[in-house]
């Protein structure tokens, strides 16, 4: 910290506890996922907060680890790492990192289930849910390949929404809510916005872009057609699901 010493007005900061920098977040641009992921990660974090109790995160994506850790305060979270060995450096994560859940949780967040291992992973993930606990799954939709870019975007083929819903129902979990982020009409407005900009009407372009954001989040059936979907399911208060 040479420059601090050069200042006559400065004090050394060695020995002071500064917060660690989240891994993979060296710059402002890299620290923010795209809009669908902002929505989806915020939705999961909000549900976890509202539910209270213990939350776990099951993922194979280090960026999601950093993002959810930043949102929920990772020291209290258990990370179920699904990405195989070696477990990557996850920086800000201060909680336990495990291969399968080690405790019952009231909320499990599962991001981008890989199609090849979804069935196996689901067994492991849902095992930790307590009666009445919630499972929130972030899953890519049909428009994902078309529109989702930037940090946080999926890397491997992920399970489809219908297959995920079948898995959830087979384990006697009830689907509470399906939210979708980024669907065709919203993207059409974004496209129209760029057209307006090109023909010299940025005023209309801005209005179209606002319309794009107004229509970005949908729920229910429309969510099935979105770029990214968050499925929220709950284990019945008395059902055992796949724990046996």
């Amino acid at each position: 910290m040479q420059w601090l010493d050069a200042s006559p007005f400065a004090v050394r900061r060695e020995g002071k506890t500064l917060l660690p920098v989240p891994a993979g977040v060296p710059t402002p641009a890299a620290s923010r996922p795209g809009l669908p992921y902002q929505h989806a990660l915020d939705r999961c974090a909000q549900l976890a907060w509202a539910g209270g109790g213990q939350t776990s995160v099951a993922t194979a994506n280090p960026l999601h680890v950093a993002q959810l850790g930043g949102r929920l305060g990772s020291s209290a979270l258990e990370l179920v790492w699904l990405g195989g060995r070696p477990v990557p450096e996850v920086g800000v994560w201060g909680g336990e990192i495990v291969a399968v859940p080690t405790r019952e949780v009231t909320m499990m967040i599962w991001t981008e289930p890989a199609s090849q291992t979804a069935v196996e992973d689901f067994k492991a993930v849902s095992r930790g849910l307590c009666p009445g606990g919630r499972l929130a799954v972030i899953v890519a939709g049909p428009l994902a390949g078309l529109r989702i870019t930037g940090p946080g975007a999926r890397r491997k083929p992920t399970i489809g929404l219908l297959a995920l819903l079948r898995l959830i129902r087979s384990a006697s979990l009830s689907v509470e809510r399906v939210d979708g982020f980024g669907w065709a009409p919203a993207f059409l407005w974004a496209y129209t916005s760029s057209l307006c900009e090109r023909i010299g009407r940025p005023d209309l372009g801005d209005r179209c872009l606002v319309r794009h954001r107004e229509l970005f989040a949908v729920s229910g059936v429309q969510a099935a057609l979105a770029a990214l979907t968050v499925v929220v399911a709950r284990r019945g208060a008395t059902t055992g699901g796949p724990r046996q």
Binding site: V11, P20, D42, G70, D203, S219
Partner: protein, 433 residues
């Protein structure tokens, strides 16, 4: 508007700000032109700290009461506790929270810390030094270390993208000039701040109806010709600070022209258009209410330099936004953001939402108007309940010292318990970014 009325408004705002504090500092949801942040309500170490710290320092200076200095320090301590090892601040991106590396937010935080350091220099040198060190760490590591573009001699908005945003550059230049003064390093001014202000001026229109307007941003050499009166006004303090430092009259001239443009975009009721485009086209809504404090402040700063403008109607516009909670509402006309028609008489959720990072602008400005040498009156605040629209549905908006809530058909559609990191209820009608 007499001084005692203003004193009451400021006392109420202070009381409201206290209700918005959580573990890590001042929190709450955000509505904005670019994006909204309703789910996350935890602390945001962003530009709200500029107005909060400077507002409390101003109150301390005007009333002589030690309590205001303590509140400024408490806010400064939030920033110290939330600083990351790389110099950035936690959750510093305002409408993009919870994210870090927010611009101009981190520069605004650094500026707040520098003012605090200056205020404490003689009374508590050790305390002053810790605030100064935090600001210096941020400015050198984050801004100069990551965002300085040697080729263009200005600061980028993102490290990998050749880009520049004048209002952000102006805030940053203001902070760099203050740091230069406090640490006696003129190189900070000559090498970074003054070239950045030159870049601000290079985005300013000269002549014609748009004279004084400053383009919102640029990518490489491409200027984005959108002119936000609010952001043009945000350039003024930095340009003036540059003029004070260098005596370069181009900077003063740029500031005066900028404010001339802003005042030409004012409506009869004292409000301003949100965006002005080439050819005079406008997107009027949403119109800022609390944030007009920054415009009023910029105008007042220019009066000693020859600005002759009556800003009473704008002050009245701002004060019309007062609510019983002590807060000042954010905007008027959010529901018309995409249509730009006449707003309904019933305000939209995002209009009524009281936001720390907008209310701080009103707080800072009004703090400068309270009578000198007299304590503020006790706060007189109460709960808020009023009709509200959300996505075309009519509901009820409520605020208490502990809660913000939107109710639709008798059912909570949005609830944020003050101090919580996240909202407890976010129905589809309240899912907005």
């Amino acid at each position: 508007m007499n001084g005692s009325t203003i004193g009451q408004v400021v006392a109420n705002l202070d009381s409201w700000l206290d209700t918005m504090r959580g573990t890590g500092g001042y929190g709450g949801p955000v509505s904005h032109w670019w994006q909204n942040c309703l789910d996350y309500g935890g602390s945001g170490l962003d530009w709200r700290y500029e107005g909060i710290v400077l507002g409390y320092l101003t109150l301390h200076a005007r009333t002589g009461e030690a309590g205001w200095l303590a509140k400024a320090r408490r806010a400064g301590d939030d920033l110290l506790r939330g600083q990351l090892a790389n110099g950035s601040f936690r959750h510093s991106a305002f409408e993009l929270n919870p994210a870090t590396g927010g611009t101009p937010h981190e520069a605004a935080c650094a500026l707040a810390l520098l003012h605090l350091a200056r205020a404490l220099r003689t009374v508590d040198p050790a305390g002053a030094a810790s605030y100064l060190a935090a600001a210096e760490h941020n400015l050198r590591s984050f801004w100069i270390g990551q965002l300085w573009d040697e080729r263009t001699q200005s600061f980028r908005d993102a490290p990998a993208t050749p880009s520049f945003v004048p209002n952000k550059g102006a805030t940053l230049a203001e902070a760099l000039l203050m740091l230069a003064q406090l640490v006696g390093d003129t190189g900070l001014a000559e090498r970074y701040a003054l070239p950045t202000l030159k870049a601000v001026l290079s985005h300013q229109l000269r002549g014609g109806e748009g004279d004084g307007a400053i383009a919102q941003n640029s990518f490489g050499t491409r200027r984005v010709l959108k002119f936000f009166p609010y952001y043009v006004a945000r350039c003024v303090p930095g340009l003036l600070e540059g003029y004070r430092w260098s005596g370069d009259r181009h900077l003063l001239d740029g500031a005066l022209r900028a404010m001339g443009f802003v005042l030409r975009q004012r409506y009869e009721d004292g409000s301003f258009a949100q965006v002005v485009y080439p050819g005079g086209r406008r997107n009027r809504y949403p119109q800022w209410v609390a944030a007009t404090g920054d415009i009023l402040r910029a105008a007042d700063m220019l009066r000693p330099h020859g600005l002759d403008a009556d800003t009473e109607t704008t002050l009245a516009w701002l004060l019309k936004g007062r609510r019983a909670s002590g807060a000042i509402v954010t905007a008027y006309g959010f529901a018309e953001q995409s249509r730009q028609g006449r707003p309904s008489p019933v305000a939209e959720l995002r209009d009524l939402l009281p936001v720390c990072g907008w209310a701080d602008k009103a707080f800072r400005y009004l703090a400068g108007l309270v009578p000198e040498g007299r304590p503020l009156p006790p706060a007189a605040v109460g709960p808020v309940e009023e009709p509200c629209m959300a996505r075309g549905r009519r509901g009820v908006w409520r605020e208490t010292p502990a809660l913000l809530q939107l109710e639709l058909d008798g059912v909570p559609a949005y609830s944020w318990r003050k101090g919580d990191a996240w909202a407890t209820t976010v129905a589809p009608e309240a899912v907005w970014k």
